[in-house]
């Protein structure tokens, strides 16, 4: 079976394009919002967490460090929440035309990915403004982002398929994301968590691991504790990767199994 045939590629491109066209439709600034949103978000974070509550004292380049974490987290959140409803929202297509169902989830994930790249542009601008030295480890960033993408893709497939059957999936996921936001060292540096056992537990979450890795790779070696440093070696440090792999495979398998009945269950 061939997945990326000419037809599928054409359809994928058209779906992503439509998604972008519709997203900012009716707004005066249009596509500019893709860049304006992260900029404004950063302005708020800067005022709150650098000027009012200086959580990141001692972390070099804390503002950019904070922004990178937020950008990665937002990508993860946007992709999973939008994918959850993707299949049901395209119910008219599913019920009346034979197209590969996975294309729909993939197209919504690509929209999120494009947004991530735009947001990373903003991050680059701030890296320069903050006079952050270019680290050689930045080359690792694409791989780290690939891990986030795979994790999100597996979850997206699972959520999209489950949502067809159970509409509460979207509410549950919203709550989980809210809790996970605070359990992931995004606003606060990991070093603020005093209990080392707690630090270890937090770092098992793939999102914590990737965000910390990304900061380590692109912003600062000294301020971002990675999973290697927390565990000091040992096989535990591979748990997040294992979780990503399991979620990815399970999500795709579950989706494949359920997708046969999407047309009649929606």
């Amino acid at each position: 079976m061939r997945y990326f045939t000419k037809q599928n590629r054409a359809l994928l491109a058209e779906l992503v394009r439509t998604d972008f066209k519709l997203r900012y439709q009716g707004s005066v600034l249009g596509y500019a919002w893709s860049l304006l949103r992260p900029l404004l978000l950063f302005a708020i974070l800067y005022v709150v967490f650098v000027k009012i509550f200086p959580l990141g004292k001692g972390v070099p380049h804390y503002p950019v460090y904070l922004l990178l974490g937020i950008v990665i987290w937002n990508f993860f959140m946007e992709m999973t929440t939008r994918s959850t409803t993707a299949i049901v929202e395209r119910g008219d297509l599913i019920r009346k035309i034979r197209i590969p169902r996975w294309l729909i989830v993939l197209s919504s994930s690509l929209s999120a990915l494009i947004n991530l790249l735009l947001n990373l542009l903003v991050v680059v601008v701030f890296l320069i403004f903050n006079h952050v030295d270019l680290l050689r480890t930045t080359l690792w960033l694409p791989l780290i982002l690939l891990e986030v993408y795979m994790f999100a893709l597996g979850l997206s497939h699972f959520l999209a398929a489950a949502y067809v059957k159970y509409r509460d999936v979207s509410y549950i996921w919203e709550v989980i994301m809210q809790a996970a936001f605070y359990l992931t060292p995004i606003l606060y540096p990991l070093s603020k968590v005093k209990d080392v056992a707690f630090q270890k537990l937090i770092m098992l979450n793939p999102m914590a691991q990737t965000i910390q890795d990304a900061r380590y790779a692109a912003v600062t070696h000294s301020g971002s504790k990675t999973i290697y440093q927390v565990f000091n070696g040992g096989w535990y440090e591979y748990i997040p990767f294992l979780i990503v792999l399991v979620v990815f495979v399970f999500g795709l398998v579950y989706f494949r199994k359920e997708s046969k009945y999407f047309a009649e269950n929606i």
Binding site: R9, A10, E14, L22, I99, R167, V169
Partner: protein, 408 residues
């Protein structure tokens, strides 16, 4: 398999319809006990047929018969519960026109999106864009949002894109019923071209005229069963019979529980009871064409009536009278009536109407002349009768209605 386009072998499709749709996890948990929470609905039962290459194949059946399910199975939208489906060649993936049209996008953007759904990339679409727009006759509207299109315009655009699909087998679900006459003629032209080009077409329609015109063979599906697969004429005959039988059953149950019958008149006379009798003298609303029948009406008078004229009107629809019996025109005198008189009026003869369903209205008037009469009691569309038998078309010329009246 070489000369076959589609081979359907023992296909069954069962839908699991939840009694109370478990779309929340709470209800899924509460109902976790393995009680039966689903109703199984068998949409298709053991259906087998073959479609040859280059054939124009019709699928006909009444609403809810399973023909759309069949089409969705062929298109690959549903997967069969049991059975094997073999498709030899490339198949159009859609069963309806304009799938995926987005009202917020312009006509142009929708053309590209729809083209992508059919498997064309942007470059290919650019090459055929002009033809599509020309065929749809929408040159001036392409930069408007689709939501500002009329439904006819949308269908025209959708149809022009759909016919570009480069597939060996086309699935078409009732498309001819849309658009104005001019566009319909264009569509028919396209179908004729497709037929000539030797493409295989599976066509689902309720319009027997279209089916008769295009289809080489038809399958008749009813209640999920394949009743017939063969020549178009025989298939259409069977379909008409199914429809007729269903309508007959409906009218019988309607007559049992009378609807709100419009009744008017000045009340000087009243129709108390009425019934039809068939050739055997049995009370019924099922009559045979060109066979003997009679109507009996009991009337009571509540005032003086000089020239009672009793009418029985047969109508094809609630508005139009097709045929009527009236003693006034037959120059049959019922006689002057006074308060308290009761009569039984009887008209009998040969049923002049061809097979079909007819409304019946009953009336009694006081008629001094054809133009000068007063309505005493009128029951509009009070009954529906079924006339059976297909011995002739239209109505029989008849002057053999016999009228009788008995005073009681």
């Amino acid at each position: 398999m070489d000369d076959l386009a589609i081979k359907v072998e023992h296909i069954s499709k069962i839908f699991r319809l939840p009694h109370e749709k478990n779309t929340s996890i709470k209800s899924a948990l509460i109902n976790f006990t393995p009680r039966k929470r689903f109703e199984m609905q068998q949409a298709l039962k053991d259906v087998s047929f073959e479609v040859k290459k280059g054939e124009f194949f019709g699928i006909i059946g009444r609403n809810g018969s399973g023909k759309s399910t069949m089409l969705k199975l062929l298109a690959g939208i549903y997967s069969p519960t049991e059975g094997i489906l073999q498709i030899n060649g490339k198949l159009t993936p859609f069963i309806e026109l304009g799938v995926g049209f987005n009202p917020e996008l312009t006509g142009r953007e929708n053309v590209y999106l729809n083209g992508a759904l059919l498997g064309f990339n942007r470059r290919e679409m650019q090459a055929m864009y002009k033809d599509i727009v020309e065929f749809a006759e929408l040159e001036r509207f392409m930069d408007q949002k689709l939501k500002n299109y009329s439904s006819g315009m949308q269908v025209r655009l959708a149809f022009s894109i759909a016919i570009r699909a480069k597939s060996d087998i086309l699935l078409i679900d009732e498309v001819l019923a849309v658009g104005d006459v001019n566009f319909q003629r264009k569509c028919i032209g396209v179908f004729e071209d497709l037929k000539r080009a030797g493409r295989t077409i599976v066509f689902v329609s309720h319009s027997m005229g279209d089916v008769r015109e295009f289809c080489d063979r038809v399958a008749v599906i009813d209640g999920g069963d394949l009743l017939f697969c063969g020549s178009t004429e025989e298939g259409i005959d069977l379909y008409n019979k199914l429809n007729f039988e269903a309508e007959r059953q409906r009218t019988e149950s309607e007559n049992k529980s009378p609807r709100n019958v419009k009744r008017f008149g000045n009340g000087k006379a009243r129709i108390d009871s009425y019934h039809f009798l068939n050739e055997e003298g049995k009370k019924t609303t099922r009559l045979s064409a060109a066979k003997k029948f009679s109507v009996e009406i009991a009337i009571s008078f509540h005032g003086e009536v000089k020239n009672p004229a009793i009418g029985i009107m047969f109508k094809k629809n609630p508005q139009e009278i097709l045929y009527g019996i009236n003693n006034f025109y037959e120059k049959f005198k019922v006689g002057q009536m006074k308060k308290g008189d009761r009569i039984k009026f009887r008209a009998s003869g040969v049923m002049p109407l061809a097979s079909g369903i007819y409304y019946v209205s009953l009336s009694i008037t006081d008629a001094r002349s054809a133009a000068n009469y007063s309505e005493l009691d009128l029951l509009d569309n009070v009954l529906k009768i079924n006339v059976e038998g297909r011995d002739y078309w239209g109505t029989l010329a008849t002057d053999n209605i016999k009228l009788e009246v008995t005073k009681q």
